[in-house]
Symmetry: C2
Subunit: 296 residues, 2 copies
Amino acid sequence: MPSASQPTHPADRLLNAIDARRAPVCVGLDPVLNRLPNAVAPDAEPIERLRTFCFGVLRAVADHVPCVKPQAACFERYRKNGRGVAVLNEVIAEAKRLGMEVILDAKRGDIGVTAEHYAAMAFGEGADSDTADWITINSYLGADGITPFLKPGRGAFALVRTSNPGGDALQSQTLASGGTVADTVAAMVREIGEPSIGERGYSALGAVVGATKPEDAARLRDAMPRQLFLVPGYGAQGGGAKDILPCFHDDGTGAVINASRSVIYAFEPNDEDWMKGVERAARTMIDDIRAALATD
Amino acid sequence: MPSASQPTHPADRLLNAIDARRAPVCVGLDPVLNRLPNAVAPDAEPIERLRTFCFGVLRAVADHVPCVKPQAACFERYRKNGRGVAVLNEVIAEAKRLGMEVILDAKRGDIGVTAEHYAAMAFGEGADSDTADWITINSYLGADGITPFLKPGRGAFALVRTSNPGGDALQSQTLASGGTVADTVAAMVREIGEPSIGERGYSALGAVVGATKPEDAARLRDAMPRQLFLVPGYGAQGGGAKDILPCFHDDGTGAVINASRSVIYAFEPNDEDWMKGVERAARTMIDDIRAALATD
């Protein structure tokens, strides 16, 4: 839980949380109505059911997992009266109350004063207890779209190499000057993150690097030594424990592996004990990643 | 105002609205607290003051301007209880009630089911009267991040070439296969938009092309003949009436020029008649663009 004794640099804080659980792992909160357990508030409004479900997932994983990543889109689609956003804020507050770091998966990408507005959306403007520690951002617009998010105590993960098939169309194009589009973004992220390095050697500007591209991950690890990697695509998207090893440095630090669907939906629809399934899936994922790191 | 007699293809609808006003122009609603007229609800909460201001701007420009572009970030920063988003929806509803098309400037960029959630955020799921006609999106993630937004009757403008200085770092890099990163995105946008062309020859997938890069605009106009261009950077960002000409086809169609700050803040802080200033600035901009197109 945030307190005066915690480091204020976001990378130091996240690494300490990972060490405390021995789990370089993040659980993605991507709640969708048609996958909820039947037992979850069946008579409530959809967005209230999502709220109950997310609170259950948070309780199920909090003892094992250092951070969670709410997917903004899943909440924002409940647009009526802004209730989706209000619930998102409540979920963030609950995650922090349970002692987890929060990465808001919002993939925002805009410039200057507009990026400042998005930073205020993610991080608030004071000591609000319902704001994220990190946000995911899009770097297509360059540095003007990145630096506004590097607020004191907060960090950002910039999209560098995404795990989806369509990402190749642009990201894997080769440049005349050598390297790929993703490599160019990596160099930009490294440079912009350089002035924001914490005591443990990592920048407040991290990188999103998909688990489905292990050969790219190894090259990007070298290109961005001071960036924490947020690694989506583990589990349901096809990435396995061996695939994510290149995202780590030799000392076993440097990456946070995210799984969403393979953890938060690890139950049958009629399962009354669905939270046990979620907890078990989180522990299995952590065990698999620990084992892969140990034998590397 | 939307009605049964209007075309359902978003490009046809937008072009008809432009023709009806003889104004290929959009006004960006980027409200910020410290630039509001003093006369606007001085004792109300900040987000309520923004609401009053936006409603005033809409009334000031509705007779002249075919579409408006609310900046999602300006509203989303008012995160408490989701009130910012609720006000954004009210502003969208008012713009549509006044007969204008609405482009939600959200620059969302995510894939698959997450992109579907964002489409639901922008466009709703039924016949809601407070949803946008278009959304701006980011294409760094490829086709999986674009096609979910091409819903019946709705369209998207994908970022191709942005107007900010930092955009060059990635967008103007040359590829080994020829052309720039922006050119690759343009080719992708053209291809993805091909199946969604309306009766007037334009796709439901448009492109954002900054007014500050006229030489790029000419090349991109050729590369994306069927894309409507949404052109930011006019006015406050430095682009002038001559700079935006390459964004149009020879017949004077194909682009929507956006101005935000130079129109919506065209008054002195103490001006009681601030709406007149906004209306005048919108008319001046339209006159300048008409003149530039006429002498081209």
